[in-house]
């Protein structure tokens, strides 16, 4: 299913708030082999939250968008991802992402969707801006 170019400029509803718990950070860090997941339980609390951790709430926003547009996740590959942080994410944060579609173009049978998600904390202050490009692979059956 092609992605509708009329989506450009549309902001999708904010995600549900994602609590940044010590456990979720440790699991994330451990899954990429990071030190925050090493050592005895509870260790690693002195290490910063991994910089790519905001993908958790960003991905929730992307997934909401794909579901709303009835796009199958298996047809999507991640083309580009950038984060600009206003401040580091810390345990105790509650993050919400609001996604806007910034571009849709078609190249070689694939739709390329550009998005920007503003990630805010419980007070509504911006923590991070995440821009993502998704490639919807229309080619193989």
């Amino acid at each position: 299913m092609p992605i509708d170019a009329a989506l450009v400029g549309r902001a999708f509803p904010p995600t549900s708030p994602v609590p940044v718990t010590a456990e979720s950070v440790a699991a994330f860090a451990a899954s990429v082999g990071g030190a925050a997941g090493e050592g005895a339980a509870g260790e690693g609390a002195d290490r910063p939250v991994p910089p790519t951790y905001p993908i958790v709430v960003t991905f929730a926003a992307l997934q909401d968008f794909l579901a709303a547009e009835q796009v199958e996740l298996s047809r999507i590959v991640h083309g580009d991802q950038r984060f600009r942080y206003a401040r580091p994410v810390v345990v105790g944060d509650e993050l919400t992402a609001t996604l806007t579609v910034t571009g849709v173009r078609s190249i070689g049978g694939n739709d390329i969707v550009s998005t920007s998600s503003e990630i805010t904390d419980a007070a509504g202050a911006v923590v991070c801006t995440a821009t993502a490009t998704l490639v919807h692979r229309g080619g193989a059956a």
Binding site: S31, V32, P48, P50, T52, I55, V56, V77, R82, A140
Partner: protein, 133 residues
Amino acid sequence: MTTLTPGAALEPLTFEITRADLVAYAAASGDHNPIHQDEEIALAVGLPGVIAHGMYTLALVGRAVGEWTGDAEVVELGAKFVAPVVVPASGAARVTVAGTVGERNDDGLLALALLVTVDGTKVLGAPKVLVRA
């Protein structure tokens, strides 16, 4: 931790990614796209096999930056995913993160110029890292 002098080489770091890592990462990140788990689905959509989440590779860059800078605050991080990182059913993909210390910008933030490869093939395009260090 490396001395962060502009032009200084950053010690290349190599990380392994296994299928089990992708399962753990899917659970931790919420990204359950089956192309990162299921060979048949990956092949059916035209991929060369099960591929790592692009964000897994970018997370490894985050680890390398943390090691090089002593966990300096990262102000910007991003890249294009220009080649798939194929993760075999047994064994591991080996991602190498290398780089040099770049220039300090007007805000005093330090850029790191990176080269991220698997078996000599560049897998991240236009990687950008800015740290407060």
